[in-house]
């Protein structure tokens, strides 16, 4: 393999990831940077037009207050999120999203996103926080605005960013390094501030389908946890990495259920016609006070379904037949057709395979109910889940200890986070992630203005990283002749083989599907042991082409996330989110000792993880 070409890009603000949070950051940064003569650069491993979790489209915007119509206030939203998260969220961060998010959604509509309206001309509500959109082109619209905001020449696509760079003297972030997935080329970005908006993690756990359907999971398979692994390796404090998302979705297609629950008032019955939320209501009593709060938290609803399953009462069905019969009773045929179209659009805007699954099983939802199932776990900070960096809140509303200079800055100076990258700030969804990108960008521009000079990039470190990035090619070249069968080699494995190994470990030891989400201290310790050996072996992963090289480094992302996840679960000695995961050795919620955040940081020189708790401060009664 020849030496890779190296291009150095000098910029002021570097945005990693061009998804919703990255595009929000680009929009906001472009505005403040232009006035201050600063350059903003965005790097994306795919094409911004169709990248990130919203690439496929969405049928709803799940975070919209409607303050202009007096529908909700930020306080209401904080109370809702706190209840759904079983008492743990950074209320300052959640409040901050809520008070700004409407402005982002109003701009989306101005830019051309079609939003359903009700008879008053207000956005049509699917639920209290959700509005309905014709969102097939949601991402291309947002991408167009982002590219115009910072100039298309400052958008670098098809570059996988593998590592952050830091000034060795000050410890401040000084840029990032990545490689092209289209040519043999390295990019060294030198920056004065960096925003990590590179997405949450899928593929850490074994999903339901492990053949051709391996990629048909609920969250985007290209979200490999870069946002977390970049920050972990840079030494940033992470919070809530024990948290995860497990949700009820239409089985196998992983299609959305929100519209069926909220708008169509659909009910889920087990195979014997029972409403498990009623028949398993007793289970809520074990997790007070949250079991008595409403809505019932997502993990507790999962918990009820899991109990029902263990009693042999599955499968569980979304009774689309009952819901549509009730919805369409007495309506004229045109109105009935409209409801049918809305039901199909829900899938066709955001999970087309669920529509194909209906078609391939000859399912007419008006006549036949559809099976539901629980997903495998995902690590993400934007849904009913809260993994991510421990960041500063905004100065005007953050309690002492939650503010250190700039909104959304991590514990590494100059390193900001947004979207899935920020922890303890759940329920952002697409609009809130976009808004958080905006908040981070404004904070980052202020940081740059206040911080003189450019942080140093050490050439030796850059050279070392470049060598490491391409090592999987060398591994293949050096070992390929040891076997007549290219797939089986005594010295190395390929990234897909490694992915299977990681998913097996996580599934069995860190409370995946196969373990019914159960684990304990000895199981976690054995899992961590196996992850440690896997880490040694992954250094010997081989790549035959650029695509496999990308997959090797994405697997490293996933491994870092996996390890953080396992260590956090081990540290938190309680079961706070039953239905997400269970600690068999600490099966109860322990409000007295564990109503706190768990934070970790990785120290690269020593290779040691440090875990500690951070106190909970409330700003909303």
């Amino acid at each position: 393999m020849n030496e890779a070409e190296v291009e150095v890009v000098e910029t002021d603000l570097l945005i990693l990831g061009g998804g919703m949070a990255g595009c929000g950051a680009a929009f906001e940064a472009g505005y403040w940077a232009a006035a201050n003569g600063l350059r903003v650069t965005m790097v994306e491993k795919a094409a911004v037009e169709r990248s990130g979790a919203v690439a496929m489209g969405l049928s709803a915007i799940n975070c919209y207050m409607g303050m202009r119509w007096g529908e909700n206030q930020p306080e209401d939203f904080v109370r809702y999120v706190r209840q759904d998260l079983m008492g743990l969220c950074r209320e300052d961060l959640v409040y901050d999203i809520a008070r700004h998010v409407d402005s982002s959604v109003h701009m989306f509509e101005e830019w051309g996103l079609p939003i359903f309206k009700d008879e008053n001309g207000h956005y049509k509500r699917e639920g209290r926080w959700q509005i309905m959109i014709h969102g097939e082109s949601y991402k291309p619209i947002v991408a167009e605005a982002a590219k115009k905001a910072i100039g298309p020449e400052n958008v670098y696509e098809r570059i996988y960013v593998a590592r952050l760079l830091k000034d060795p003297e000050t410890g401040a972030v000084s840029g990032a390094i990545g490689f092209s997935t289209r040519e043999h080329k390295v990019y060294v970005f030198k920056a004065r501030a960096v925003i990590s908006a590179a997405g949450g993690a899928t593929g850490v756990f074994r999903p339901h389908a492990v053949g051709e359907g391996l990629g048909r999971i609920w969250y985007a398979p290209w979200n490999t946890g870069s946002a977390y692994s970049l920050m972990i390796r840079a030494g940033a404090a992470m919070t809530q990495m024990e948290h995860r998302l497990v949700v009820t979705r239409f089985k196998d297609g992983y299609g959305p259920v929100g519209m069926w629950f909220l708008l169509f008032k659909g009910k889920v019955r087990n195979a014997y016609g029972e409403l498990y939320e009623e028949t398993q209501a007793e289970a809520l009593e074990d997790f007070l006070p949250y079991g008595h709060g409403r809505p019932i938290p997502t993990p507790l609803r999962n918990h009820q379904m899991l109990i029902d399953r263990r009693q042999g009462k599955g499968p569980h069905y979304m009774r689309t037949d009952e819901a549509l019969a009730a919805m369409t009773a007495g309506l004229d045929p045109k109105a009935v057709r409209q409801i049918e179209a809305d039901a199909w659009e829900d899938f066709l805007d955001m999970t087309m395979s669920q529509a194909l699954l209906w078609a391939s099983n000859n399912i007419d939802p008006a006549k036949v109910p559809t099976e539901l199932d629980l997903t495998e776990p995902y690590l993400m900070g934007s849904h009913s889940s809260a993994t991510g960096a421990w960041v500063s809140g905004p100065e005007d509303l953050s309690p002492k200890g939650y503010f250190w200079g700039y909104n959304r800055m991590s514990t590494v100076p100059g390193l900001f986070a947004a979207g899935d990258g920020v922890g303890a700030s759940a329920h952002k969804f697409s609009s809130g992630s976009y808004t958080e990108g905006r908040l981070a960008a404004k904070g980052a521009i202020a940081y740059i203005q206040d911080t003189q000079g450019r942080p140093a990039v050490e050439d030796g470190e850059v050279q070392g990283i470049i060598e490491e990035l391409f090592a999987p090619y060398k591994t293949f070249e050096n070992g390929a002749e040891k076997s007549t069968k290219v797939e089986v080699n005594p010295d190395f494995f390929y990234p897909k083989q490694g992915l299977m190994r990681l998913q097996k470990i996580m599934d069995e030891y860190v409370a995946g599907l196969a373990a019914n989400f159960m684990t304990n201290e000895p199981t976690l310790n054995r899992g961590l042991e196996l992850l440690g050996v896997f880490r040694e072996d992954l250094a010997q992963a081989a790549a035959r082409d650029r695509h496999e090289l990308l997959r090797v480094w994405e697997l490293w992302d996933r491994l870092w996330c996996a390890e953080a996840h396992a260590r956090h679960i081990l540290f938190r000695q309680e079961t706070r989110w039953p239905g997400y995961y269970y600690r068999g050795d600490y099966p109860a919620l322990d409000e007295e000792n564990w109503h706190v955040f768990v934070n970790s940081s990785f120290d690269a020189p020593s290779g040691q993880w440090k875990l500690e708790t951070q106190p909970y401060h409330s700003i909303v009664s």
């Binding site: 929009f27 505005y31 006035a35 201050n36 491993k45 795919a46 169709r50 990130g52 690439a55 496929m56 930020p74 306080e75 008070r99 409407d102 402005s103 982002s104 109003h106 101005e110 051309g112 996103l113 079609p114 014709h134 619209i141 605005a145 905001a149 997935t181 389908a209 492990v210 053949g211 051709e212 359907g213 391996l214 990629g215 048909r216 999971i217 985007a220 398979p221 290209w222 179209a341 199909w344 066709l348 805007d349 395979s353 529509a355 194909l356 699954l357 078609a359 391939s360 000859n362 005007d396 509303l397 309690p399 908040l439 404004k442 203005q449 897909k496 695509h547 401060h617 700003i619 909303v620």
Partner: protein, 151 residues
């Protein structure tokens, strides 16, 4: 439901500077087989069926075949995406057909002016909590602050 490419239709996007499917695929799956001059999905089990390539292919050469381990054969789902709307044709395994048309955008493509009527940021605004253009876009006069704060 990974993508597959119809060799009769794919022309390798010879007229473009790069194959459209390869440019748009979010997961680095669609690539050109240079010898054959046609595109293919190089890692079908990492396909999310997001249809980005299907929608963008200028030859309508890309389709989906349901995941072999998940979906019965015989159904098809085909989009026709225009500038203002998208039309979906759903064909069931038993050959029933349904068609749906949904709007996708209410303004012309390329028409966004991100900072229209916002003006330059006033001096001293950088340190304040308001975001760009919120005086116009937030929909309420004052940025909310909580009823109590421990700051």
């Amino acid at each position: 439901m990974p993508t597959y490419v119809n060799p009769q239709k794919c022309d390798g996007c010879k007229a473009l500077d790069k194959p459209a499917c390869s440019y748009i695929c979010p997961n680095d799956l669609m690539i050109l087989d240079v010898a054959m001059g046609k595109a293919y999905n190089q890692e079908p089990d990492q396909c999310w069926e997001c249809y980005s390539c299907v929608k963008t292919c200028p030859q309508s050469a890309i389709a989906m075949r349901g995941y072999s381990d998940v979906m019965p054969l015989g159904a098809t789902l085909t989009p026709m995406r225009g500038t203002e709307s998208i039309m979906w044709t759903v064909q069931f395994r038993d050959k029933r057909v349904k068609r749906f048309k949904f709007p996708i955008r209410s303004t012309p493509w390329g028409s966004i002016d991100p900072y229209a009527e916002m003006g330059e940021p006033p001096a001293g605004e950088l340190g304040k909590p308001n975001l760009a253009g919120e005086d116009r876009w937030l929909g309420v006069d004052e940025l909310a602050v909580p009823e109590r704060s421990l700051a």
